[in-house]
C-alpha cells in the first residue's frame, strides 16, 4: 500500500514540477520514522512515507506547524536519527555514512555550540573536524567571521553572545567547509528583523554561489521570500509540494498597482472592471509591511544617529 502511494506521489511530483532536474542532491524514499519507547512500543509516528527530491542549486523549504516532522526529516537526512523504514540518500549516499558530511553544512535549531569557546576557537575546532590544514582554517575563519559580522566579538566566549550573535556564529560554522548542501533548521528563529533580513540575504547569496539549501521553518514569510520550492508537512504527512511561485499564484485574480492618478479615476476603473464582468475585491492604498517599515527606520537611524525618524513623526 505504501509503495503504491509512494509511486503516486512521485508521479505527482514530476507533474507539478515542469522544470524537473535529474541532478538530485537529496532523495528520500518512503522515509518513515516512528519513535518508540525502550520496550519498542510505538509512541509517535513522526514521519510517514516521505518521498522528496531536492535538486542542485535550489532553496528547498520544509514547512509545517510544530511537531509536523520538519526537524525529524532534517535529522534523518543528517544521520542523527535512523529511519524506521525507507531510505534517505544524500549525494547518492546513505544518510548514516560519515563521508557525506564532507560536503554538508548544518545549522541546528538552536545553535548547539560549545559556550566556553570564542568565535575563533569555535571555527578553528570545526575546521579541524574537516581535517583542514592550519592555514586554510585561519583563512576560512577570518572570512566567515567577517561575513557574519562578528569581527568585534571574535575573542569573546559564546556564553556572552546574544541570541542573534550565536545564530550568526552557528551559520559560520555550518559554512566552514564551503559545503555544497546546507541544511538550516529554523534559520531565522530568535533573530530580530534586521538579522532575519541579513540571514535571508545570506541564504540567497548561497544560492547565487550554486549551493543547495534545505531549510525548515514555521515562519511563512521567511519561506516565501527565499524558497524556490517548498514541501508542507502536517503530522508527519507530506501535504503539498511544489514551486513557491506556482503554489501561491491565484490565477483567477489580477492585481494592479498604479500611482499618480486622481481619486475620481478610481470609479472609472471600477466601472471598466464591472463592464468586463469582473469583481473588484479591494481598491486601497497599499501598505508597506512592518518589516519594511522597521528596516527603513533602522537604516535611517544609522544614517542620522540621535534623530527621531522622519516617517514616524508623520
Amino acid at each position: 500500500m505504501a509503495a503504491v502511494t509512494a509511486e503516486a506521489k512521485r508521479k505527482k511530483l514530476e507533474q507539478t514540477n515542469p522544470d524537473y532536474n535529474p541532478d538530485v542532491v537529496v532523495e528520500t524514499q518512503n522515509l518513515t520514522k516512528v519513535y518508540r519507547d525502550f520496550w519498542g512500543r510505538q509512541k509517535v509516528r513522526a514521519l510517514n512515507a516521505l518521498d522528496l527530491d531536492v535538486r542542485k542549486g535550489e532553496i528547498f523549504g520544509l514547512l509545517g506547524p510544530n511537531g509536523s516532522g520538519k526537524s525529524t526529516t532534517i535529522k534523518l537526512l543528517l544521520g542523527l536519527l535512523f529511519p524506521t523504514s525507507g531510505r534517505a540518500l544524500v549525494f547518492g549516499k546513505n544518510a548514516d555514512e560519515v563521508t557525506k558530511n564532507e560536503r554538508i553544512g548544518y545549522l541546528p535549531e538552536e545553535s548547539y555550540l560549545y559556550r566556553f569557546l570564542n568565535a575563533e576557537e569555535t571555527l578553528d575546532f570545526y575546521g579541524r573536524l574537516f581535517d583542514m590544514p592550519p592555514k586554510v582554517r585561519r583563512e576560512r575563519s577570518r572570512l566567515l567571521i567577517e561575513k557574519v559580522g562578528l569581527q568585534h566579538a571574535r575573542r569573546r566566549q559564546l556564553r556572552e553572545y546574544s541570541k542573534g550573535m550565536v545564530r550568526r556564529i552557528g551559520l559560520a560554522q555550518a559554512l566552514i567547509n564551503d559545503p555544497d548542501l546546507i541544511m538550516l533548521d529554523e534559520p531565522t528563529s530568535g533573530l530580530d528583523p534586521l538579522g532575519t533580513r541579513e540571514m535571508k540575504d545570506m541564504i540567497l547569496d548561497l544560492k547565487a554561489q550554486g549551493k543547495t539549501v534545505i531549510m525548515c521553518s514555521h515562519l511563512l514569510a521567511d519561506v516565501q521570500d527565499v524558497c524556490d520550492r517548498i514541501a508542507i508537512l502536517y503530522q508527519g504527512e507530506l501535504k503539498e509540494l511544489g514551486r513557491v511561485d506556482s503554489l501561491l499564484k491565484i490565477s483567477d485574480e489580477t492585481q494592479v498597482r498604479f500611482k499618480g492618478i486622481p481619486a475620481a479615476a478610481h470609479d472609472e476603473i471600477r466601472q471598466v472592471i464591472e463592464r468586463h464582468g469582473g469583481e473588484v475585491l479591494s481598491m486601497e492604498n497599499p501598505r508597506t509591511n512592518l518589516e519594511e517599515l522597521f528596516l527603513d527606520i533602522v537604516r535611517e537611524s544609522q544614517a542620522r544617529p540621535g534623530h527621531r525618524s522622519e516617517r514616524a513623526r508623520n
Binding site: 544521520g79 560549545y114 566556553f116 579541524r128 574537516f130 581535517d131 567547509n177
Partner: protein, 665 residues
C-alpha cells in the same frame, strides 16, 4: 613483603596476548549476536541482518579514516571542557589539604617512610581515579544532552575519533594532574621525613660521648654497644626516635681497602703490629634510617655534626632465585614439612635432630646473572632474607632460631666436575623482617670432587670463582640449625641485593602504575558513557573496578578443582545436603553436570579478565617496602592499559555508531 613470581614481558605477552585475542573474538561474536537480536526485534530478521552487516562493513572504513587532527581537536575540546568543570581544581584543593594536615597523623616510629609513602600513594590513587571516572563519565552524556554533539557528528567525524579523542584528552589532562601530584607527593615525603639530631650533652664534641667499659660494652642508655666501640652516647629525640652514637676503632691492613667515608674519621694511628686504626664516629640506624656524622675543627676539640636523615628511601633491586628446591632429612626433594595452614605459600625445612649437618633438611636456591657490576662496590655483598619460622617448642623466646647458609658453585657437569662450597655462615633469623646478611666477596671454602672428597681448601672469590659459567650461576643452601624448629622458605625469601635503583625513578614508576590504572578508568568511563547515562556509567565502572580489585579472590572461586565443584554441583550439594569433600556417584547425570560446570566456570573465568586487575598495576607495596619496581612489571602494566584502551575504543565505536544521537533519551 610477599613477592609473587613474575614472568618477563615476552613470557607474559605469550599468554596475555592469547587471552586478549580470545576476549576480542568472543566480544566480537557476542556483540554481533546481540546487535542482530536487537535489530531483529526492531526491524525483523531480514532488515536486521542487513543493518548489522552494514555496521560491520562500515567499521574498517571508519577505522582507516580516523584522522589524528580530528582526534587532536576532540582531545583539546575535552580538556577545555573538563577544566571548565572545576573538578580538577577541587581535587587539587583536597590533595593540598591532605598534604597540609596529613602529616599530623602520620606517626610511626618503626618505619615512618612506609606510612608516608603509603599515604601519598593511596591518596593520589583515590583522587586521580575518582577524577578520571567523573570527567570521563559525564562528558559524552552531557554533550548528547546539550545536543552540542549534533554539530560534531554532522561533520565528517568518525565515532572512533569521538571515543579516542576523549580518552586521549582526558588521559592527557589527568596525566598532568598526576604528574603534579607525584611531584608534590615526593616533596611532601622528603620534607616530612627529613630531620636532624643533636648530641645529648653539654657540647657537640667528643666530650658528649662517654667512654665505654671494654669488658661490659654498655652504652649510657644501658644497651650493648658495638664490639669495637670506645665511646658511646645518644642523640636528642626527634620525630619520635633517638639514635645511638659511637666512636669505633676500625682496624685495617695498610695495603687493604680503606674506609670509603672519610668525613667521620677522628684520628688515624698505626698500631704496633703495623695495622692502621681509624677512630670513626658512627650513628647507629634507628627507625629505618641513619645520619651521616661529620667531624670538623682542630684536633682535640673536634665538633661532631649530624647530617640530614638518610637511608629512608630505598629501591632495592633483588636478584631472586630462579629455582628453589627443598630436600627433606633423607635427601629427597619434596614440598617440605607440612606445618598446617602456613604451608601453602612457604615450604618448611626441618631443623632435624641429628648432629650431622649433611642429614639436615635443606633448601637450595639457585641464582643466575650474578655479575659484580650489578652490585655496589665494597667488601661485602648483601643477602636479604625474609624467612618464616615455625617453632615446635618456645624455649627461650628471646633467642632466635639459628640457621646457616652455604654458598656453592654450580658446575656445568656436576657428575664429573668438582664444585666449590663455602664454610657455613651461621645467623639468627629475625622473623617478620627484612634481614640483611652481609656475605664477604672473598669466602673461605673448599673444592669438592663429585664423589665427596675434598680436593683443596682456600679463599675463593664470590664473583670470580663461585659464580661460574656464562650465566654466572650460584647456589645458596639454607639449613635450620636449631633442633626441632622449622624455617619456612619461598623462592623470593632469599635474594641478593644488587645496587639500589634510583629512588626518585622508582617513585615515578609507582606513579606510572597509578597512571596505568587511571588510563583504564578513563577508557572504561568513556566507552560505557557512549551507551549509558552518566550516573549509570559511574555505577557500572565502580562495579567493574571492585571486581578488578578482587579478581584474585574471584578467580579462586572459579577454580574448577575447588572443593564442592562448580555452580551447579554446589547447588545440588546444598540442596541434597551432601558433604563438600565426598565425591558424588558417577552417573550420566553427574558427568553432564560436571561438564556444564566446566563450561560455566570457563565462561565466568574469561569474564573476569574484562575487569581490570588493579592489583597487577598497583605498585604501592613495592614503594612502601622499599623495592624497585621491575621494568617487566612496568611494561606489562602499560601493555594492559593499552589493551584496555583498544578494547574500550572498539566497544565505544560500535555503541556510538549504532546509537541514535538525536533519539529521545
Amino acid at each position: 613483603m610477599v613477592v609473587e613470581n613474575f614472568p618477563n614481558v615476552l613470557e607474559w605477552l605469550r599468554s596475555g596476548f592469547g587471552t586478549f585475542l580470545i576476549l576480542l573474538l568472543s566480544g566480537a561474536v557476542l556483540g554481533t549476536v546481540f546487535g542482530f537480536l536487537v535489530a531483529t526485534w526492531r526491524h525483523g530478521p531480514v532488515e536486521g541482518f542487513y543493518s548489522v552487516a552494514g555496521v560491520i562493513a562500515a567499521a574498517p572504513g571508519d577505522f582507516l579514516g580516523t584522522s589524528f587532527r580530528r582526534i587532536g581537536a576532540i582531545a583539546r575540546l575535552s580538556i577545555k571542557e573538563a577544566l571548565r568543570r572545576r573538578v580538577i581544581l577541587v581535587t587539587f584543593a583536597i590533595f593540598a589539604a591532605l598534604l597540609l594536615f596529613g602529616g599530623w597523623y602520620l606517626t610511626n616510629v618503626e618505619h615512618p617512610e612506609r606510612v608516608y609513602i603509603n599515604f601519598v600513594m593511596w591518596g593520589t590513587q583515590l583522587l586521580v581515579l575518582l577524577v578520571g571516572l567523573l570527567i570521563s563519565a559525564f562528558s559524552l552524556p552531557e554533550d548528547i544532552r546539550n545536543r552540542t554533539i549534533f554539530t560534531v557528528v554532522t561533520k565528517p567525524v568518525r565515532a572512533t575519533e569521538i571515543v579516542i579523542g576523549r580518552i586521549v584528552g582526558f588521559g592527557a589532562l589527568v596525566t598532568a594532574l598526576l604528574a603534579i601530584m607525584a611531584l608534590l607527593s615526593y616533596v611532601f615525603v622528603w620534607r616530612g621525613l627529613s630531620h636532624s639530631h643533636l648530641l645529648v650533652g653539654d657540647t657537640q664534641t667528643v666530650a658528649a660521648l662517654e667512654a665505654v667499659d671494654p669488658v661490659q660494652k654498655l652504652n649510657p642508655q644501658g644497651g650493648r654497644t658495638s664490639d669495637n666501640a670506645v665511646r658511646a652516647g645518644s642523640t636528642t629525640a626527634e620525630a619520635g626516635h633517638r639514635h645511638d652514637v659511637e666512636i669505633i676503632e676500625d682496624v685495617r691492613d695498610p695495603g687493604g681497602p680503606q674506609p670509603i667515608d672519610q668525613g667521620n674519621i677522628l684520628s688515624k694511628e698505626t698500631r704496633a703490629d703495623g695495622k692502621l686504626v681509624y677512630r670513626r664516629v658512627i650513628v647507629l640506624p634507628a627507625a629505618g634510617h641513619t645520619h651521616a656524622a661529620t667531624v670538623s675543627g682542630p684536633a682535640g676539640s673536634e665538633s661532631i655534626g649530624l647530617g640530614n636523615s638518610a637511608g629512608y628511601f630505598r629501591a632495592r633491586r633483588p636478584v631472586y632465585a630462579d629455582l628453589l628446591q627443598v630436600y627433606d632429612t633423607d635427601g629427597l626433594e619434596g614440598q617440605g614439612t607440612d606445618v598446617g595452614r602456613e604451608w601453602r605459600y612457604r615450604m618448611y625445612i626441618d631443623g632435624g635432630n641429628a648432629t650431622d649437618p649433611e642429614t639436615l633438611a635443606k633448601a637450595e636456591f639457585q641464582y643466575s646473572g650474578l655479575r659484580p657490576e650489578r652490585f655496589d662496590p665494597g667488601e661485602t655483598v648483601i643477602l636479604e632474607l625474609t624467612l618464616a619460622v615455625f617453632r615446635t617448642y618456645l624455649g627461650n623466646i628471646q633467642k632466635r632460631v639459628l640457621a646457616s647458609i652455604q654458598l656453592e658453585s654450580i658446575p656445568a657437569d656436576p657428575q664429573n666436575e668438582p664444585r666449590l662450597q663455602s664454610e657455613p655462615i651461621l645467623f639468627e633469623t629475625s622473623e617478620m623482617q627484612i634481614q640483611p646478611l652481609p656475605v664477604n666477596r672473598r669466602l673461605s671454602g673448599r673444592r669438592i670432587a663429585p664423589d665427596g672428597t675434598i680436593l683443596e681448601s682456600g679463599v675463593y672469590g664470590l664473583f670470580e670463582d663461585f659464580a661460574s659459567g656464562p650465566d654466572k650461576r650460584i647456589k645458596v643452601v639454607l639449613r635450620c640449625e636449631d633442633k626441632n624448629q622449622y624455617i619456612g622458605v619461598s623462592r623470593a625469601d632469599i635474594y641478593f641485593r644488587a645496587s639500589d635503583d634510583w629512588f626518585a625513578w622508582n617513585f615515578a614508576k609507582g606513579f606510572l602504575g597509578i597512571w596505568a590504572q587511571m588510563i583504564i578508568v578513563v577508557a572504561i568511563g568513556v566507552a560505557l558513557s557512549t551507551v549509558l547515562s552518566a550516573p549509570v556509567t559511574i555505577i557500572c565502572s565502580l562495579v567493574l573496578f571492585l571486581v578488578g580489585f578482587a579478581t584474585p579472590f574471584i578467580r579462586g572461586l572459579l577454580d574448577p578443582t575447588a572443593e564442592g565443584g562448580g555452580p551447579i554441583e554446589s547447588l545440588i550439594r546444598i540442596l541434597s545436603q551432601e558433604n563438600m569433600v565426598v565425591s558424588l556417584e558417577t552417573t550420566w547425570f553427574t558427568t553432564l553436570m560436571e561438564r556444564m560446570d566446566d563450561l560455566l566456570l570457563a565462561g565466568l573465568n574469561s569474564l573476569t579478565w574484562l575487569a581490570p586487575s588493579f592489583r597487577d598495576l598497583d605498585f604501592s607495596r613495592f614503594l612502601t617496602w622499599g623495592y624497585s619496581v621491575s621494568g617487566d612489571r612496568l611494561a606489562v602494566a602499560i601493555l594492559i592499559s593499552l589493551a584496555f584502551c583498544f578494547g574500550a575504543s572498539v566497544f565505544g565505536y560500535f555503541c556510538l555508531k549504532t546509537r541514535e544521537i538525536a533519539g529521545q533519551t
